[in-house]
């Protein structure tokens, strides 16, 4: 295992250095960088899979000359699980990137991009395997900075620069909180070793533990994109090249979930008051609902997907929060269920979100636009991409027989166990969270009906879409791998659940896989067979069977063999793309219903002819959604800052004497205080 780990890190290192050493041969640089990343990711998959089931964690330590920093890595089940997720998505993205990079503008150097890609994967790997706070912070910051560099790949576009700037600021605010958290934990034993955090010499008082937890929640939450810290996410994720977006949205934000789990269940030992879990639950519910609601209004495909990351992080936090809440009431089996559901959704989201981003990248490279309103009819031109995107869309909408359905169903089952909680308030709140989740699921379905329908069906709306061609084979393979795993993880919970059970066992001390899997693993029973059970293979067979039946019936009725071609009813007009349902129109009813939240503004500007008021020269119609958090939370704060700075400028008089006087007064005061 140790050999595998070293080789994996060495291959990543080679992937960072080697492409840069090759002189101007873009194709070779591209191939080399991505194949090295692919090899390293494959090693990561092996390592992660073995690490999850290994009885003892693998620990490696190299001491360093820098005080408090030790190159300590530990591959326990939790770290292995995240390593597996990262490597799986990393592998698909690496294969995809070989073809994708050919479509990027030539001024983007494939060598630099490949090196950064390797470095990004390597940094994320280090984040999850680090066993020392110092090393963790270094890896975390590397991850943020490298992803920033990747976000601003297209830095000539001012919007991209703005996205990068916003991302950088938010990333550093988050890191500041994580630093505070580690410094507080550092006080337990004057060391940054995770082992010391786990088994502290002296336990922090409860009030400080609360601060640690809240700092972790804010710090990691910024990276995860929980509401209201999500503002950077819809800007930064779409700005990066698509295979990078897939990594950022699919796995980078998962490192934050890793961090929250590590801190709350490992460092704090799972000893916490009920309101911590409740807080996570509320954040999860709000993030899920608002995320999907904003996603619905987006017509930029990648921004839409980015908002869905907010939603899915919310769903993951719903499972996690419910688990934490049950823990406070000592319902350990349900804790295990909540964590299992949340981890299941973590890996699922990583897979289908990466798949969807790769699909969006394929559409982008085929049509040169991200605006959904300019797509249409792409299924006929890009069948492979369309099929893979459909699998992703079905998954993210939590429809059977895909993985998203199983994990979201498990989250539901967790939330439905409110009956066992003694607190009346929680008895009310948990079903409310379940209702929010139901709303989220429904809206997600609408959203992807829109995304898939508008993009792939009907007539092409622009010449880009009319001339789109299927993407290269490497890109297709990258997507097919992810689509296949999405379906597999949906059909085979009997494989996934025992694996996840290994992961959560050290955290909760319970093993629930045995009682969850009945009939040789064909049926999933979260709590009680009386209450609920699910057999996804049977469900899949039922769906397939009924589809077959429908086909058979059609065939019997003769409709299959006899084909009649006729013009679509068009009121005597020729059908044109202008008659199609647009994305904006598709979501108009929802915009009306949730008008309070969206605060939509319609604006119709008419420029009239000079000569006569009855003829309009041009008309401009704009629909705008008010981004609540940006308008009412971030902009006021941003407005206060320059005002404050203006006030502070008074002390910057520009006079040497005044500056000397400041130093002097400070010196004398300090001397007197030190007395």
């Amino acid at each position: 295992m140790a050999i595998f780990l070293t080789v994996m890190l060495a291959v990543y290192a080679a992937g960072i250095v080697l492409p840069l050493t090759i002189p101007v041969r873009p194709t070779l640089q591209n191939l080399l960088a991505n194949s090295l990343a692919g090899v390293a990711a494959t090693l990561g998959i092996v390592l992660g899979a073995t690490g999850v089931v290994a009885p003892d964690p693998l620990t490696l330590t190299w001491s360093s000359s820098i005080p408090l920093l030790a190159f300590a890595v530990r591959l326990d089940a939790l770290a292995s699980f995240f390593l597996l997720t990262i490597s799986l998505v990393g592998l698909a993205a690496a294969i995809y990137a070989v073809g994708y990079l050919r479509h990027l503008p030539s001024r983007v150097s494939p060598a630099a991009l490949g090196a950064l890609f390797n470095a990004f994967l390597c940094a994320m790997t280090l984040v999850v395997i680090a066993d020392n706070g110092f090393l963790f912070l270094i890896a975390w910051e590397l991850m943020s900075l490298i992803s920033y560099l990747l976000v601003v790949t297209d830095h000539e576009d001012p919007d991209v620069r703005y996205a990068g700037f916003l991302y950088l600021i938010m990333a550093h605010i988050g890191t500041a909180f994580i630093v505070v958290m580690f410094l507080l934990l550092f006080q337990q034993g004057n060391t940054f070793s995770f082992e010391a955090f786990r088994h502290p010499e002296r336990v922090l008082p409860t009030s400080l533990q609360t601060v640690v937890f809240l700092a972790a929640l804010i710090g990691f939450g910024t990276k995860a994109g929980i509401v209201p810290l999500h503002v950077w996410l819809p800007y930064a994720h779409p700005a990066a090249p698509s295979h990078i977006s897939a990594l950022m949205s699919g796995v980078m934000i998962k490192t934050a979930i890793y961090g929250i789990l590590r801190v709350s269940f490992d460092f704090l030992g799972g000893q916490f008051p009920w309101w911590w879990g409740f807080l996570v639950l509320v954040i999860g519910a709000v993030s899920a609902v608002l995320g999907v609601m904003y996603a619905l209004m987006e017509h930029d495909l990648k921004r839409l997907l980015a908002y869905h990351s907010v939603e899915n992080i919310g769903i993951i936090l719903l499972g996690l929060g419910a688990g934490m809440l049950f823990h406070a009431y000592g319902l350990e089996d349900l804790v295990a269920l909540g964590l299992l559901a949340s981890l299941y959704h973590t890996v699922n989201h990583a897979l289908f979100k990466a798949l969807l981003f790769l699909g969006a990248g394929a559409l982008l490279s085929a049509t040169r636009t991200r605006n959904m309103e300019e797509y249409g009819g792409l299924l006929r031109r890009m069948p492979w991409t369309g099929a893979c995107f459909l699998v992703g869309a079905v998954s993210i909408s939590a429809l059977p027989p895909t993985n998203g359905f199983v994990s979201e169903w498990l989250v539901f089952q967790t939330l439905f166990q409110s009956g066992q909680v003694p607190s009346l308030l929680m008895k009310l709140m948990l079903p409310l969270a379940a209702a929010m989740l139901a709303l989220t699921g429904a809206l997600a379905l609408v959203c992807f009906a829109k995304a898939f329908g508008i993009s792939f069906l009907a007539l092409p709306r622009s010449s880009h879409a009319r001339h789109a061609e299927e993407v290269s084979w490497t890109m297709r393979i990258g997507m097919i791998i992810l689509a296949a795993t999405c379906v597999l993880l949906g059909l085979a919970p009997m494989v996934v659940v025992p694996l996840l059970d290994h992961v959560i066992q050290p955290m909760t001390g319970r093993s629930i896989a045995g009682q969850m899997l009945a009939l040789g693993g064909w049926t999933l029973i979260p709590v009680d067979a009386e209450f609920s059970s699910l057999s996804s293979p049977v469900l899949a067979m039922l769906i397939a069977g009924s589809a077959m039946m429908a086909l058979a019936l059609t065939a019997l009725a003769g409709g299959w063999r006899e084909k009649r071609y006729a013009r679509t009813w068009g009121c005597g007009l020729n059908l044109s793309p202008r008659m199609e349902y647009t994305a904006t129109a598709f979501v108009q009813p929802i915009k009306r219903v949730f008008g309070t939240i969206y605060q939509p503004t319609l604006k119709l500007e008419t420029e009239l002819m000079h000569e006569s008021q009855y003829f309009a020269k041009s008309r401009r119609f704009t629909v705008r959604i008010e981004p609540i958090f940006e308008t009412y939370l971030y902009l006021p704060v941003a407005a206060i800052m320059p005002a404050l700075a203006d006030r502070l400028r008074v002390i910057q008089a520009g006079s040497l004497h005044v500056y000397l006087a400041y130093i002097f007064v400070t010196l004398v005061l300090l001397l007197l205080i030190a007395l």
Binding site: A653, G654, S655, L656, H657, L660, V668, L671, L672, L675
Partner: protein, 222 residues
Amino acid sequence: MSWLTPRIGAQLVDLGSAMLLLTCFAIVAQRRLSACVDLFALQSAFLAMTATLVAFLTGTRHIYIAAALTVVVKSVVIPHVLRRVIERLNVTRELVMNVNVPASLLICGALVMTAFIITQPIISFGHLLTRNSLAIALAIVLIGFFTMIARQKAVTQLIAFLVMENGLFLGATAATYGMPLIVELGVFFDVLIAALIAGIYTNRLQDAFDSVDTSRLSELKE
């Protein structure tokens, strides 16, 4: 010299330190720049005397070298450079002050008291015969710093900076019988270079503003 008991020796060191402090006050009260330079040379001579005394009483050889350097660098070379600067710039008096002379003297008096209050707890722990000079050394540093703030001409500020350095040197002698020789050599070199650079900078200031008033520098503000 049997009459030179440690007790009398300590008194003599205190006397030397007191003379240093006195010249400090004289510098603060003085308006004529050439007189300031002379006073600084005198102060450095007192410093060299005090250092020699400490070297003699404690038998710490390397302080002799430091004392000799003090005489050469601070009593001869730097005052010479400063006189040349004053001559060339044709400024003889400090006309505008941020804090006038009587107020400056009062503040300096307060600073001496502060220095004594601050060092009180430290002195009672010390066993060195020079320990009482520590308070005076701190007072000299503070007065030097204050003079930099209170005076506007670059030449006076340079002198004040050198006075601070003298205070630090006295402090080092008082607290630990001097720094290691290599450090002291380094410090002397630094001071010399600082004085030369400040001399050049003063000339540039004169060229740019027709004045060596450093408050004019605020015109460079954005």
